[in-house]
Symmetry: C3
C-alpha cells in the first residue's frame, strides 16, 4: 500500500491541484502554508457569493468548522451545492462538534446538499459523531482512542464516506476496512493547528487523486505525520522550532521516503 | 513573592485550564500557541450563540478588542453574561481604546454584565481608561510610563479589579498595592502581538489560580517576559527568529526558574 | 535611482509612519510583522465605523482584497472616503480579481470615492485589470509576464496611478516610464502571503514618502526582494526557515545595502 501512497504524494506536486478552503481564522495561515508545502495551490474563498462561483474551479474543497462565522456558514452551503454539481470532492473537519451543537446542525445541512468524501476529526469528535461519548476539553481530545476504529467504521458505513481519526495512532476507514498510521510525534499537541493542517494535506492529496479517496486520505496523514516525525527529531522539546521545521520537512518529502519510512498497519 | 508565582506557573501545566478566547484575528494564532506553550488549553469560540454555551465550561475568559467584528462584539456580551453566572474570571485587553471610542463603549457594556477581573493594556491604553492623556500611535503606545503606577492604582480602586500595564517595566496593581516586573526585552516591540500574547499567558495563570488574580497576573507577565528575555539573548537583532524562540522558551520554563531569574519590585 | 530608494528606505525607520491596513485574514499576521520589520507602525482597523475615523490619522492606507468580508468591504468604502478628504495615499492589492468579479466591482466603487495611488498585483491580476487575458490558478499567477510592462503602463496612464506587478521580475510603472526590479527569489512562491507582504512594505514606504509614490513603490519592492534574496541564500530549500529569516533580514536592511545590492533596470 505504501507504494500507492508514494505515487499519490508525488502526483500532488506534479498536478498542483487547486484546494478551495473555508477554514478557521486561528490556523488559516498554517493551512495555506502546509498546502503549498505539499505542492498544491490553496485558495481561501469564503464570501458566500464568491464561494459558489469558485468551488467548481477547485480540485478539492476543505471545510473546517473551527471558528465558524455567519458568512462562512453561508459560504459552505453555497460551495457544497456548487461542488455537488461538478463532483468536486469535499473533506470536512468538524472541529469541536461534540461540544458545540451548531456544528452538528451544519454538517447535516451540508450532507443534505452534497456528498462529503472525507470526514476527519480527532478521537473525541469522531466518537461524538458516531453517537459515542468521547472525552474532550474544548477543541482538544482527551480521548484514549479505545473503540475508535469501530467508530470510524460505523461512520464510514452509515454515511458512505472515508472517516479519518487523528490521535496517537491515526485511523482511516472506509466501509469495510481501515488502516492505521503509526508515524507521528507528540509535539503535534504542543502547537495549535496540527489537525487543521493534516486536513489541508489530505485535501491536497484528494485533489490529486479524487478517485482514490481512501488512499489519498491515508497518504495525506502519512506524509504529514512523517514530516512531523522528522521535524521533531531535530526540534527536541521546542514547539516554535518544530513548527518551522514541519513546513521545511513536508516541502522536501518525496514518495520514495514514504515507502522507506512509512509505518502502516 | 516569586515563590508563589513559581507555584502558580507550575499549576498551569498540571491543571491545564481551558481558556476561552475572543481575540483579534491579527495575532490569534500566536495567542493560541502561547497559551499551549504555557501548558493551558486555548479555545477560540466567538460566534454569539456558541460563546454563551461555551464560556461556562472555561476556567478563564480572554477578551481582546483588537479587530472587533460585529459578531465578536455580540459574542463578548453573550459570554460575559454566561461567565458571570458561573464565576468564570475574565481578563480584558482594551486594544487601541484611547483612539477608537467604540471600544470604550463595549467595555462599559461588559462591565454592566459581569465583573472584569483583570484589565491589561499598554501604557497609553491604561492611562486613557484612567482619564489621563496617554501617547499612542495607532495600536502602539509611545508613552513614557510616567505616572503609570498611579493610573493603574486608580483604575484598580475604581473598578475593583487588577490593572496591568505593559511597557519597559510592567506594572500590576490591585486596590492598595502594585508590583513592577523588570524582566523583558525591547524585541517585544519588533513583533506584532506581544501584548496579546502576554494577555493569553495571564489568562492561563488566572485559569489555574482564579482566587489569586493579582498573583496570577504577575506570574503570567513574569513568565512571558522571562521567556522573552531568554529568546532575545539567542536571537540577537532578528525578530523572526525571536518570535520562534519565544514559544520554545516559554514551553520549557518552570517555576524554579522564575524564582532564580525573576526580578520584581 | 538606487540612492533615492536608499533615502526613502531609511526614512521609513526614522519617520515610523502609521499604516492603516484592511487586509485578508490569511496573511494578516505576516503583513503586520513585515510592516514592523520595515520600521513602520501597522494598525489593522476594519470595522466600518472605526475605519472612517482612523484612516485620516494614518500616513498610508493598505487595502488587500484577499478574503473580503462584508464588514471589510464597507470599511474600505468608509476609509476611502475619509482618506480622500485628507489626502492619505492608498495602495490596493486586487487579490484574485481576475477570477472573482465582486472584487472588480469594489475597485470601481473605491475609485469613485478616492484616488488610488498604487495598484499592486501579480501578473495575472494586473493583466486582467488591463483587459488582457492573464493566466491564473486561484490566487496564484501562472502568467509568463510577457507584455506585462505594457499592461502596467496602460493601467498607469488610464487611471493616473502607479501600477506595480510582481513576478520573476517586478515592474513598477507610472504614466510614461517604468522600472524593473531584478532582485528576488523563487522561494517567495513556496510561502503564502509574499505578495501581501510586498504590499505592506510598499505601504510603509508610501507613508514615509507620499510625494514620491513611484520611487516609494520601487523602494518597497526592492527592499522586500533583497531581504528575500538574503533569506533564501541561508534557507536553502526550506520554506518555513525562509519565512522566519525574511523578517530577520528586512529588519536589519539599511539604505546603503539597497545601493550596493539593488538591481534595477
Amino acid at each position: 500500500m505504501l507504494k500507492y501512497c508514494a505515487e499519490i504524494w508525488d502526483e500532488v506536486r506534479s498536478k498542483r491541484p487547486l484546494v478551495h478552503c473555508i477554514t478557521n481564522y486561528v490556523t488559516v495561515n498554517d493551512v495555506a502554508n502546509i498546502i503549498l508545502a505539499s505542492g498544491a495551490s490553496p485558495a481561501m474563498v469564503e464570501y458566500p457569493a464568491e464561494a459558489s462561483g469558485f468551488a467548481p474551479l477547485a480540485s478539492a474543497l476543505y471545510f473546517n468548522l473551527g471558528t465558524l462565522t455567519g458568512e462562512q456558514e453561508a459560504a459552505m452551503l453555497e460551495a457544497s451545492w456548487a461542488a455537488a454539481s461538478r463532483g468536486v470532492p469535499i473533506i470536512l473537519d468538524p472541529v469541536a462538534c461534540g461540544v458545540i451543537g451548531r456544528k452538528v446542525d451544519l454538517i447535516e445541512r451540508i450532507k443534505s446538499l452534497c456528498k462529503i468524501q472525507v470526514l476527519k476529526g480527532n478521537a473525541a469528535e469522531i466518537k461524538s459523531l458516531a453517537g459515542l461519548a468521547g472525552q474532550a476539553q474544548g477543541v482538544d481530545s482527551l480521548d484514549t482512542g479505545e473503540g475508535l476504529a469501530e467508530a470510524c467504521l460505523q461512520l464510514a458505513a452509515e454515511d458512505k464516506l472515508i472517516a479519518a481519526a487523528t490521535g496517537e495512532v491515526d485511523i482511516v476507514a472506509e466501509e469495510n476496512r481501515y488502516a492505521c498510521i503509526l508515524n507521528g510525534t507528540p509535539l503535534f499537541q504542543s502547537i495549535t493547528g496540527a489537525g487543521c493542517m493534516a486536513g489541508g494535506v489530505i485535501a491536497a492529496c484528494l485533489g490529486a487523486a479524487p478517485e482514490e479517496a481512501w488512499l489519498a486520505s491515508i497518504t495525506g496523514l502519512l506524509a504529514f505525520n512523517l514530516a512531523g516525525e522528522r521535524a521533531a527529531s531535530q526540534a527536541g522539546n521546542r514547539p516554535g522550532t518544530f513548527r518551522t521545521l514541519l513546513f521545511d520537512e513536508l516541502f522536501v518529502l518525496r514518495g520514495e521516503e514514504l515507502v522507506k519510512e512509512g509505518r502502516l498497519e
